[in-house]
């Protein structure tokens, strides 16, 4: 029967079909909904906000009290740390008051000033990066689409950056000022100058944001950063007796200067704030939402302590801002093409050398402070930070397999090639740092020339391998077995992510710091290099072993299938 229906005969159709022809199915008429032809009612941003708040509260699974009770460890930690800091400030006040030397007076004046300038530079950098006015993706989609007063809505978004810029830099500068032994009025002046200055700069950045201009904030950020570095250099120079110590009376004069700075910052900040608020309704939604997207992306990365991902987000953003480059022709074939691209990167991103130059200042500063024994460790860590931008190619090749899969080389060869140019940079850095390891900045003759060369090379290698370890960090696997902690189950990689790079530098430099043979450091460098270039990639080895086992099993199964039966009688 079924066969008949599937293959109908070529002759006449069955009689029943002729009597009742198939009726084509009639589609049900579609109905469409249209909005009524009436003017929409005016909407208040507050109402929408309340509605969003209601939804969010509806989804909350714990009350604030429960959350605080669960996070008692955190609360106690904060209280204890706060108490320790206050105690440290008070004892520093008592201790430093007795110090009347020129070096103490200089540090008392210069260190809080360096922190103040550094806070200004960081504030401007962050303000430019995030907005400073921003909205979340949800707010961008729902609130900004509604016919609401955008200026009124965004004024509230400006409050958080302004208050943060006032409180955090103020606290940091006040803390350092207190620790250096400044008297309380001076602490207040430096704190006010840092807080008011940072807030004024955020207001300036907001005014510039609406005008889609960045040149002024960039210029001020660079100036503040350079000034902060210069002041730190001055602190080191004074400590090393390279520059005469500033007289104690310097602080009295400086406090009036900084009081003036604070007043000027308050006045200019008010002006910029009024201008920024006036321009708020000109802000484009895309610009506002991009800051929010950046915040949420970085929040996600921070929860996993994935600092590499945070950097990736920033690098992508910078590339998107640059947009277009003048393409250059490659050179060589095979791995040399990869190395040549890294050379091209140096030419394309000369800014990387600024960080390298700053890191080169570290061994000299450490030597000037007569901490030559710790010089390899401290300078190595500075070099890690400076070399990370040079390892951008390696980062991309190791974060996902897609691009590496397209290149016909072993993982170890790829990584070695990607390390070649940064290794050259690290070598140059080490050679330039040799005088610091000899001891030219400090008391002199800390080490013989040959020992200094070895120490500098070991430090350079430690910095390079620390950087490589940092950029090749894998994402935290939340599916892996976890470690029980006071704050719940934590994947071990989350803890190790904090130490990545630092561990490598500490390990390689340990023999130098402990006064053991430098050959031990050399051995550690070789072992670390072999491990980091992926020669013994555990995943690869497991995959190869599994593949070999599978092949063996298949071969066995095949043999069993094709076994010749014994002859029968």
């Amino acid at each position: 029967m079924a066969k008949k229906t599937r293959k109908p005969a070529g002759g006449q159709p069955p009689a029943a079909a002729a009597i009742a022809p198939a009726v084509p199915p009639v589609a049900a008429p579609r109905e469409f909904f249209f909005l009524p032809d009436a003017e929409p009612e005016p909407v208040e941003a507050e109402e929408l906000h309340e509605l969003m708040k209601l939804w969010r509260h509806g989804r909350a699974t714990r009350s604030l009290g429960q959350a605080i009770s669960d996070g008692y460890v955190t609360v106690f930690t904060i209280l204890m740390l706060g108490a320790m800091i206050i105690s440290a400030v008070l004892s520093a006040q008592q201790g430093m008051a007795d110090c009347t030397t020129g070096t103490c007076a200089s540090s008392r004046l210069l260190l809080p000033t360096a922190v103040l300038l550094g806070c200004w530079a960081i504030t401007l950098g962050l303000a430019r990066l995030f907005g400073p006015v921003l909205v979340s993706a949800a707010e961008g989609s729902w609130l900004l689409d509604a016919p609401v007063d955008r200026r009124r809505l965004l004024s509230r978004r400006l409050v958080v950056p302004l208050v943060s810029a006032f409180v955090l830099p103020g606290l940091a500068t006040g803390l350092v000022a207190g620790l250096t032994g400044m008297d309380w009025p001076a602490v207040g002046i430096w704190t006010l100058a840092a807080a008011a200055g940072s807030s004024a700069l955020v207001a300036l950045a907001a005014a510039q944001q609406a005008g889609e201009r960045t040149w002024l904030t960039t210029l001020l950020k660079n100036l503040a950063g350079a000034a902060a570095l210069a002041v730190i250099g001055l602190v080191v120079a004074v400590a090393a007796d390279k520059v005469p110590a500033i007289a104690l009376s310097g602080i009295d004069a400086a406090r009036w200067v900084f009081l003036g700075v604070a007043v000027a910052a308050l006045a200019s900040g008010s002006f910029w704030l009024v201008l920024a608020v006036r321009r708020l309704d000109q802000l484009r939604r895309a610009r506002l939402a991009s800051g929010g997207a950046l915040v949420s992306g970085m929040q996600g990365a921070m929860f996993a302590l994935d600092f590499g991902l945070i950097r990736d987000i920033l690098v992508e953003r910078r590339a998107a801002a640059i947009g277009h480059v003048r393409p250059t022709r490659g050179r060589g074939l095979g791995l040399s093409a990869l190395v040549w691209r890294d050379v091209e990167r140096l030419r394309r991103n000369p800014k990387m050398f600024i960080g390298l130059a700053v890191s080169l200042f570290v061994p000299y500063a450490v030597d000037a402070l007569r901490l030559s024994q710790l010089n390899p460790l401290i300078s190595g860590l500075a070099l890690v930070a400076a070399l990370v931008p040079f390892l951008g190619g390696l980062r991309v090749l190791s974060r996902t397999g897609g691009l590496a899969r397209g290149l016909p080389f072993k993982t170890s060869s790829l990584r070695t090639a990607s390390m070649a140019v940064p290794a050259g940079v690290a070598l140059l850095w080490a050679l330039a740092a040799v005088p610091a390891f000899v001891g030219v900045a400090g008391s002199g003759a800390d080490r013989s020339l040959s020992d200094a060369v070895i120490a500098a090379l070991v430090t350079g290698a430690a910095g390079l391998l620390g950087g490589v370890r940092w950029v090749t960090a894998k994402k935290v696997d939340f599916g892996a077995p976890m470690v029980a902690t006071q704050n719940g189950a934590v994947p071990p990689a989350l803890i190790f992510n904090l130490l990545r790079g630092i561990d490598m530098v500490a390990l390689i430099c340990a023999p130098l710091i402990l006064g053991w043979s430098a050959y031990l450091s050399a051995v550690l460098i070789v072992v670390a290099f072999v491990g980091l270039r992926g020669s013994f990639n555990a995943e690869d080895l497991r995959a190869e072993a599994a593949a070999a086992q599978r092949d063996l099993d298949s071969a066995k199964a095949e043999r069993t299938k094709t076994k010749i039966p014994p002859p029968r009688r």
């Binding site: 393409p327 397999g401 691009l403 397209g406 290149l407 092949d551």
Partner: protein, 219 residues
């Protein structure tokens, strides 16, 4: 008649995520000049199979061989033979479109890489975007660049996961013609697709995934 040696040989492939078995007992032989299209509803396991084929995911059991060599993502010979465009393709944020293609061509030792890059760039219509950095490309342009990275280098097996995604109508037509030309030149192709027209034009065999029994039909 002697059977052609398969470029790709998959035997009893099984992949599960936890208790959910995505694919089980999957067998596939693809010879040179053959194009196999994997079709099926979302979640049927097409991308999982392709990820296993390129070595991005490890199967729970079964074997995958390319030119008689067990697939391993890190094996340079496999990297040389298999060109893949799947969902995990990454780009250097500081290298332009043309520099990516140049790097790949040179890394694979393509003779006269400049000429090869120029040709491919024209073909994928990214000449105007040649100096652009990947984060500024539209999703369609990124897809074109991804496809270009597969065509600018030597290959024996091409693995594509929904290559028609984000391409405009002309782009899909170009892709179909390109893949037919690749197949006719003796390349083995395995692709997953939701585009019936592309499958019809390119595939010599269609495998529908998702049903317990694989329905196989000659196109």
């Amino acid at each position: 008649m002697a059977r052609r040696t398969p470029v790709l040989k998959v035997t009893a492939l099984k992949k599960a995520f936890g208790p959910v078995v995505i694919i089980d007992g999957f067998n596939l032989d693809v010879a040179a000049g053959e194009a196999v299209a994997l079709t099926g509803r979302n979640g049927a396991g097409k991308s999982t199979v392709l990820r296993c084929l390129v070595g991005a995911d490890r199967p729970d059991s079964g074997t995958i061989q390319v030119e008689g060599l067990a697939v391993s993502e890190t094996n340079p010979q496999i990297r040389r033979d298999v060109a893949a465009v799947i969902d995990d393709l990454d780009f250097f944020p500081d290298l332009s479109v043309v520099e990516h293609l140049d790097l790949l061509a040179r890394a694979h030792g393509v003779p006269d890489p400049d000429h090869a890059v120029d040709e491919i760039l024209h073909e994928v219509q990214l000449v105007a975007q040649s100096g652009q950095l990947p984060p500024t490309l539209s999703s369609g342009e990124r897809r074109r660049l991804a496809l270009a990275t597969a065509f600018v280098r030597p290959r024996k097996l091409l693995i594509l996961d929904e290559p028609e995604q984000r391409l405009d109508v002309e782009g899909v037509a170009w892709l179909a013609e390109r893949l037919v030309a690749e197949r006719n030149r003796g390349l083995a192709i395995v692709m997953a697709s939701h585009e019936p027209e592309l499958v019809e034009k390119v595939a010599t065999r269609v495998i529908r995934l998702g049903d317990r029994a694989q329905v196989e039909a000659e196109a």
